[in-house]
């Protein structure tokens, strides 16, 4: 492998990894707080992408900067997240993990098919928001779009980590999964915290949609399934419920995917899933996860 190919792949891998990491954050935040795999999270990205598809031209024709579309997408995704949580997840929360899992699956199917009814199943092309030039570094052409994507991802992850560690709201978010009853007694409105978590997670999906569309400007109603599944695997790999774990897992999955593709294009997914299995068997709670054995 030449150095330039390696470097190019590294950049691509980090780019893809940053996108996965951002989506994985959404899974991890929700799982961290209510122990539920939010299967619909992947579909929030689809919603974000469709919002971008419709709002970018609107912004442009109204003479406003295109990046304002991202704000709209963030708001739309946040709203959808809150709606899904309030009307589907909250009512079944007491019914146990099995019900929660199925409800999440059902919401995923629902959103995908709603999108198909509304927008059709043909792919749509999203116009670009950023059209930055490419620069040449050490003989390798690097698109500044990609650099920007990685930078956005990094900033958001750092911001989120600070938010969870430092702010009262973030602390409440960490307290709720520890002991829901005690949190209530301490004056934390548990339902509100859960809703906020969903809103933030879903808003991150909108940003992920932006990053995804910058690199691959195609929207389909089922784009959430594959994206979501890999990001979810990233979250589990890193240790679900742990924010740095999501980032680590995302980047790992992104790099694995890009590099395996170079050598065995047909097999990269198998390697991704295989890595997950191996990690889970060695350390069942993921790379950075804490194990929780049952007390006898």
């Amino acid at each position: 492998m030449t150095f330039s190919l390696f470097f190019q792949s590294l950049i691509n891998g980090l780019n893809l990894g940053a996108i996965y990491a951002l989506i994985a954050l959404g899974y991890t935040m929700v799982y961290g707080i209510i122990r539920m795999i939010n299967f619909a999270h992947g579909d929030f990205i689809m919603i974000g992408a469709y919002t971008l598809f419709y709002t970018i031209p609107m912004m442009v024709s109204a003479g406003m900067p295109a990046w304002l579309a991202v704000v709209v997408a963030v708001v739309v995704c946040g709203m959808v997240g809150i709606l899904v949580e309030t009307f589907a997840y909250r009512p079944v929360r007491k019914a146990g993990p099995m019900s929660a899992l199925i409800t999440a699956l059902a919401m995923s199917i629902f959103l995908q098919n709603l999108a198909m009814v509304l927008f059709g199943s043909r792919p749509h092309n999203v116009s670009t928001i950023f059209s930055l030039p490419s620069v040449s570094v050490a003989g390798v052409t690097v698109s500044l779009n990609v650099v920007l994507t990685i930078a956005i991802g990094l900033v958001i992850m750092l911001g989120l980590q600070l938010f969870v560690k430092k702010t009262p709201l973030g602390k409440a978010m960490r307290a709720v999964p520890q002991d829901r009853d005690a949190s209530t007694l301490m004056g934390i409105n548990v339902n509100r915290i859960i809703t906020v978590t969903f809103a933030i997670g879903s808003a991150l999906a909108a940003v992920a949609a932006l990053m995804y569309c910058t690199t691959y400007p195609r929207v389909t109603n089922d784009m959430g399934t594959t994206m979501g599944m890999k990001a979810f695997i990233a979250a589990v790999l890193g240790g679900i419920g742990v924010i740095p774990g999501a980032m680590l897992g995302g980047v790992l999955i992104g790099l694995i995917e890009v590099f395996v593709r170079l050598f065995a294009p047909g097999w990269y997914e198998a390697v991704t899933y295989g890595t997950l299995i191996v990690i889970l068997l060695v350390k069942p709670s993921g790379i950075l996860g804490r194990s929780t054995g049952e007390k006898v």
Partner: protein, 345 residues
């Protein structure tokens, strides 16, 4: 006791045969007019879906663990049986024998896959196990996408059309009966104990890992049988047919029918696999409606429509004829109460 049991075996056989006779007669004499062939197809689909869903219920309902990768085992059965039947075609086997051999080969292959996946995967529990089963199913799909013998990622077509309605129906009956007998034996009892409390099960001397892997293998075996029948009904397939969505669909049918109720799986699978077909004119909206139904079931009946209830023809007849004193002599835990005769639904 034995007399009561023999009587109830016979009764169930008669019940199942009656359902079969009615359906076959309807198909033979064009009972549904122009759409007879279509309805027959829907019923065949329902039958092999029942096998897949009931087998998944062994893991989800009786063992109490999620599996999001059941379609992977279905695909192993489908591909292996398709390869077997095309290899054995023209070797002088009758169609029925060819189908049975192929389907059995598919089942065995899937069962072996179940053991290989189960041994590492079943060390995990809950969400993590669900994820790992999903990952294994995806790996299986990728393997089939890359192997030349399975079409190398393209459609594998030209599979013999051996799964008629009658054959599918009777294969389903045998499969469900065997699963039912499995559940009502020491194996089922052990596995349910593990579901209830695995720590207590260990303290009762149960080798938890062994029974989990065994159940997983039995479940995969029947998933493979279902897949084999599917392949010989569809005659063409592509690995992406067996993706995560298919696993999710099967799991949903288990849950809606009732976790831990084979009756629920039978009715759930029959109804839900027929529902999208019946709503074809609204095809755009059918999955939408389907997902709403799922959420509603979760809201109002989290254990599924049938919970853990099992239909029993014997019990029903006793109720109808008010022969309560006889009902008391038939031991409900040992008697093979009928799981089979509710396809008349």
């Amino acid at each position: 006791m034995t007399k009561a049991i023999k009587w109830s075996y016979l009764l169930n056989l008669v019940g199942v045969a009656a359902v079969f006779a009615i359906l076959s007669a309807l198909f033979a004499f064009n009972g549904f007019g122009d759409s007879t062939t279509y309805v027959e197809g829907v019923c065949t689909t329902a039958c092999y879906t029942i096998i897949m869903v009931a087998s998944l219920n062994l893991v989800v309902g009786f063992m109490g663990e999620f599996s999001l990768g059941h379609a992977g085992f279905v695909s192993v059965g489908a591909y292996v049986s398709a390869i077997t039947s095309s290899a054995l075609a023209g070797k002088g086997l009758s169609d029925l024998a060819l189908l049975l051999v192929a389907v059995l080969a598919g089942g065995i292959a899937a069962g072996i896959a179940g053991v290989l996946v189960g041994i590492p995967a079943l060390r995990l529990r809950g969400d993590y196990l669900a994820i790992v089963t999903m990952a294994f199913a995806e790996i299986i799909r990728v393997v089939f996408c890359n192997l030349e013998i399975t079409g190398g990622g393209r459609t594998m077509s030209g599979i013999l059309r051996l799964s008629s309605f009658g054959r599918t129906f009777w294969i389903m009956v045998v499969c469900v009966t065997v699963m039912f007998l499995f559940v009502r034996s020491r194996f089922g009892r052990t596995v349910q104990a593990i579901r209830e409390d695995y720590i207590a099960a260990e303290a009762a001397g149960i080798n938890v890992t062994f029974y989990k892997v065994l159940t997983f293998a039995v479940s995969s075996f029947f998933a493979g049988i279902g897949g084999g029948v599917y392949a010989h009904y569809m005659t063409a397939m592509i690995p992406t047919n067996f993706d995560f969505n298919y696993s999710a669909e099967l799991l949903s049918e288990v849950i809606i029918g009732g976790t831990g109720s084979l009756t629920g799986s039978i009715i759930g699978a029959a109804f839900l696999s027929a529902l999208p077909e019946l709503m074809r004119q609204f095809s755009k909206y059918r999955m939408l409606a389907y997902s709403v139904v799922l959420v509603l079931v979760m809201l109002f009946r989290p254990g599924g429509i049938f919970g853990r209830w099992e239909f029993s023809l014997t019990r029903l007849l006793h109720k109808l004829t008010r022969r309560k004193e006889n009902a008391a002599t038939a031991d409900p835990t040992d008697g093979p109460a009928a799981p089979l005769a509710q396809k008349g639904e």
